[in-house]
């Protein structure tokens, strides 16, 4: 009995220690980057680990004043907002249509969409198709291809099918048309799943940059993610040069290093996720549960 108790206590000690360390590994990096990005660059070189030293936000003021950064922020935000509205609305409406018994070939159409989960033509055929459709160097490239997402359609359709038919029938008796029923009944009742899809899609859009890398070289359509990556991948000399150019109007006494700039952009890119994340976490979890059911 005594041995068992000791075993039990040590198990808990191990358990709590392990999770405390791992959780710290997941959040501390962001905290570290944050405190270093708002500290005096000279203090930074001596090492800052717990709280900011010589607090100043000059680098942020400079960064956000940069046209390239503000444009990129606008592009990323637009694709997240517009892309999500388009995807969520289309997937919801489309899923509702294919749950209707009167819809011709609805099973075939559904399969036609589900198969896309496994189809992958490869980079070049995809690239050539997008070019052919005139999406090269176009903002539409960011939002149009994901107008229908197979996985979202599976989730939505499954959810809509579970809505009691009586709800709709009552509305039909009252003389409500297709769109009225969709807007006033189906959409509000499906809000839990719609919230999940919205959150997933918005995060995906915010995090996307591959389409940008492959098909867009217009600086006015550059996403924030790729802007950061380009800066990170620059050689040290080039980074110095960019930093100097960006900080051109700074007094010479206030040195801002490429490291500062990297950290500041990193925080700017992370901030929206960090801000919405704690509130959205339950929707993410719900999403994976639903996904798991369908596998």
């Amino acid at each position: 009995m005594r041995r068992e108790r000791i075993l039990d206590i040590s198990f808990h000690v191990f358990n709590y220690t392990f999770f405390a360390i791992f959780a710290l590994c997941c959040v501390y990096p962001f905290y570290y980057i944050l405190i270093n990005s708002v500290s005096d660059p000279i203090m930074v070189t001596k090492g800052i680990y717990l709280w900011p030293k010589g607090f100043n936000v000059t680098v942020y003021q400079e960064m956000l004043g940069q046209r390239s950064i503000s444009v990129a922020f606008g592009v990323s935000l637009s694709r997240a907002v517009l892309g999500t509205i388009l995807t969520v609305f289309s997937c919801a409406l489309f899923s509702y249509i294919i749950t209707k018994k009167e819809m011709p070939f609805r099973k075939t159409v559904y399969r036609f969409v589900v198969v896309t989960l496994y189809l992958n033509a490869g980079l070049i055929p995809w690239y050539l198709t997008m070019k052919m459709l005139g999406l090269k160097n176009s903002f539409l490239l960011y939002i149009l291809p994901s107008v229908i997402v197979g996985f979202f359609v599976i989730l939505m359709k499954t959810f809509i099918e579970q809505i009691p038919v009586a709800l709709e029938e009552a509305a039909v008796v009252e003389g409500a048309g297709f769109f009225t029923i969709f807007a006033k009944i189906i959409f509000p009742v499906s809000l839990p799943i719609i919230a999940t899809i919205t959150v997933f899609n918005a995060v995906n859009q915010w995090n996307s940059w591959m389409d940008n890398l492959f098909l867009v070289n217009d600086p006015n359509l550059q996403t924030l993610q790729l802007t950061l990556l380009n800066f990170l991948k620059q050689s040290e000399a080039l980074a110095q040069e960019t930093t100097r150019r960006m900080m051109g109007n700074q007094s010479a006494g206030h040195q801002i290093s490429p490291q500062n700039v990297k950290m500041a952009i990193t925080m700017i890119v992370t901030a929206p996720i960090l801000l919405i994340y704690p509130f959205m976490q339950k929707y993410f979890v719900k999403g994976i549960m639903l996904g798991a059911v369908k596998g």
Binding site: F18, P104, T116, M263, I273, M289, A292
Partner: protein, 313 residues
């Protein structure tokens, strides 16, 4: 009387047909979009059988049949072997560490403090939601050879005398990328197992308690078998995804020093296609990858159906 009923019925049918057409018309733009964005690219596989050069229309390109397939497997065979090896090793390492997700879920489930548990879940799933660019930025800040946090600390403690190049060391590149993957995915990947544990019949646990079974025995005899089906399904899906390492992770972490270890097939397809502009060859490689993946997926699914009587997709 009868005639009236008949016309009423046919009017109803007419109305119904009109409604059907309306639905079809509404669905049409979406069907067209799916066709354009997912199916049209498949027709692009034809580029793999022509000597296609960007700028010259396909009609004026020479049909070369299986030339590029031959190049991939014969002339450039060594390249393909190296790239395939990287892909398979990295996938294999990913599968090797997959029990960690199960362990994570089991341990978290044993945790009694509700608040702490919630906090662990929120913090450990965060890395899954940041982009690979940000992951790279974070790892760069911590593991860079000059001024990286880890090197700075180790040098200060005098555990190291020269900074260690974590990001540019070909010997540890595979292991390092596996760890990066774990950091990003562990908390999130464990959620599915937490759901599986929550689905285990509570009576089994109660019965075990009555029998005086200890914590570890209960875990071993009830929790582990309870989540085994989920583990097997995910394992099989991972196996069929062996060639799909993803592009983003390896593009952001790629550098000349680790090129020989991190060049996976997805990266190779990009390099051949968009860096050297060899469209036909790249198309063939992408085609090969998709055909292999889909074949493996369906074989695995077929086997699962035979063995478990339940398909996985």
């Amino acid at each position: 009387m009868e005639a009236k009923a008949a016309t009423g019925w046919s009017r109803g049918r007419k109305k119904k047909r009109k409604y059907s057409i309306k639905l079809l018309l509404m669905a049409l733009p979406f069907i067209v979009a799916v066709f354009l964005f997912y199916y049209v690219p498949l027709f692009g596989w034809i580029y793999g059988f022509y000597d296609y050069k960007p700028g010259i229309p396909l009609a004026q390109s020479e049909f070369v049949g299986l030339k590029y397939l031959r190049i991939a497997f014969m002339e450039q065979g060594m390249d393909l072997v190296r790239v395939l090896k990287n892909s398979l090793v990295l996938s294999f390492l990913g599968i090797l560490v997959s029990p960690a997700y199960v362990l994570f879920a089991i341990l978290l489930n044993e945790m009694r403090g509700k608040w702490f548990r919630k906090w662990v879940q929120v913090t450990t799933t965060l890395p899954n939601f940041i982009s690979w660019v940000l992951v790279y930025s974070v790892f760069y800040v911590f593991f860079a050879v000059s001024d990286g946090v880890v090197n700075n600390v180790l040098l200060k403690l005098e555990w190291l005398h020269n900074p260690f190049n974590f990001l540019g060391n070909s010997d540890i590149a595979w292991a390092f990328q596996t760890l990066v993957g774990l950091w990003k995915g562990l908390g999130w990947g464990a959620i599915i197992y937490l759901a599986a544990i929550a689905g285990i019949d509570q009576e089994l646990y109660d019965a075990a308690k009555v029998d005086g079974s200890g914590r570890f025995r209960t875990i071993w005899h009830i929790t582990v078998p309870g989540i085994m089906p989920t583990f097997i399904v995910l394992l099989l899906l991972n196996v069929s995804n062996m060639l799909n390492n993803g592009f983003e992770q390896f593009y952001v972490f790629y550098n000349a020093l680790v090129a020989d270890k991190l060049e996976v097939i997805d990266y190779y397809v990009y390099k051949i296609g968009l860096e050297t502009n060899d469209f036909s060859y790249s198309t063939v490689l992408g085609m090969f990858k998709t055909v292999v993946s889909v074949t493996v997926l369906f074989s695995v699914n077929w086997i699962a159906k035979k063995v478990r009587g339940e398909s996985i997709i």
